[in-house]
């Protein structure tokens, strides 16, 4: 079953076409990785899908509903079933770790703070963090911030998780730990994952399919093995060679 469908999506920034009649379809429970050179439109694509950027043309369906024609309240309702892990974690500086994680419930519900803190601690444990709930974001390392960001995305039990460069700026060991965590979450919570990355190791380990974005379009898409065997695209070839060297 198709959970995300993007049809002829076009995004323009100050006369520059960033996404050019892009099409994409993601199945429920699938893990799709988008790769491509910097500035090719990968992040713009996921931000457009979740409604942070307005396209000039095209349609975006989430669970069969075209989100571009919906009123703001409906879009917010759909967003409550979506989680996003931002490139720089985007934790709220003025809130503690548990408040960051439980912010969705602190804002939208009348649950008590104690109850929400308990929920946040539980989700933090799920991402491998213990005893950090009262720390402020500036007291956390890059890898810990990323985990908190994942916990914040997870707390509302989303159906779809978007990751924007989840391993960028992390050392190889932390990066590998985050990749394992993403795999674990995908299996445990049965989420549909859309991941933007430059990290070919992560792409290979976690993806059901890999899409190559170039000049605002998805020019190649398929499983890692399919692309390795069939694709002649220079970027895919260089990714495959890089991965070969890593092995």
């Amino acid at each position: 079953m198709e959970i995300i469908k993007v049809v002829n999506l076009k995004v323009v920034f100050e006369a520059k076409v960033v996404l050019d009649m892009l099409n994409l379809s993601v199945e429920k429970g699938e893990s799709i990785v988008l790769v491509g050179s910097s500035g090719c439109g990968k992040t713009v694509l996921i931000k457009t899908i979740i409604g942070l950027i307005e396209p000039v043309e095209g349609e975006i369906f989430i669970n069969g509903q075209n989100i571009l024609n919906l009123p703001e309240e409906k879009i917010r309702e759909i967003r409550s079933r979506i989680g996003m892990v931002f490139q720089n974690s985007a934790l709220f500086d003025s809130l503690t770790t548990w408040e960051n994680v439980g912010f969705y419930y602190l804002y939208h519900t009348d649950k008590s703070k104690e109850e929400i803190k308990k929920m946040a601690i539980e989700v933090l444990e799920n991402v491998g963090l213990e005893g950090v709930e009262d720390l402020m974001p500036e007291q956390l390392s890059g890898g810990m911030k990323k985990r908190v960001s994942i916990a914040r995305a997870l707390i509302s039990r989303p159906e779809i998780l978007f990751y924007d460069e989840p391993t960028t700026g992390l050392d190889p060991i932390t990066s590998s730990n985050i990749t394992s965590l993403m795999k674990k979450i995908h299996l445990k919570f049965n989420t549909t994952d859309v991941i933007v990355t430059h990290d070919i190791k992560l792409a290979r380990e976690i993806s059901d399919r890999i899409g190559l974005v170039e000049n605002g379009k998805i020019v190649e898409i398929g499983t890692f093995d399919f692309l390795r065997e069939k694709s002649n695209h220079p970027l895919i070839r260089s990714f495959v060679e890089m991965e070969g060297k890593n092995e």
Partner: protein, 257 residues
Amino acid sequence: MKNFIENFGKKIVAPVYYFGSLILLIGNSLKKAFTERKRENILKHIEEIGINSLPLVGVIAIFTGMILVMEIGHTLKAFGAETYSGALVGLSMARELGPVLVALTLAGRVGASIAAEIGVMKITEQIDALKVLAIDPVSYLISPRVIAGIFSLPALFVISFFLAIGGAFLIGVFLIKIPSGQFLYQSFRFISYKDFLVGFIKVIVFAIVVINVSSYEGLKAKGGAEGVGDASTSAVVKSFFLIILTNLILTGIFYFV
């Protein structure tokens, strides 16, 4: 020629776009100020906008009162009318100077900080994170500050009025030698309820303008640290301009229409 026309067009459209967007933001923030159910941030913002501004507003008000009476009293003394110094200080602080000084202090102290805070949140994707959590940034960041400003500025205005009279009293009585009873009597003699009402309306309008202008500049911030710096500067400059412009319009409406 095409470039010239394009650039000229952009220069015309930019301010229209700016004012249009600002008016929409003001409408949106006011609407959400009265409909939003989460109000826990308001006390924090009242502390920031009102209580923390009090020392600076107070000192500026005292000094302004002193300066006014030095200038006015000295001039009026030549005509033997120095006892009216207090009346001029009282009237100008209630109708014009008081509201404007409070608003300019707010723009310089709080406006820059709002623009910087929201600008950093924009650049570090915290604003996007709010939206993904189904939280409207206007409801969460701007409306509570607007409410805090609407409560804080009238209080600051009243305090600054009395402190300015106090500063003027010290100079008038001890330096210019105006009898203290006469000075106080004249200070309040010509002020009507309307003058105070207009002062209140002005500070409330200024609070709404300054907080929305500063928030808007923060929400528009781009790039890195430089973008945040530009947003802060722009917030202060545009707030100053709009305070003076709004004051002109309100004075015209209340005293000349």
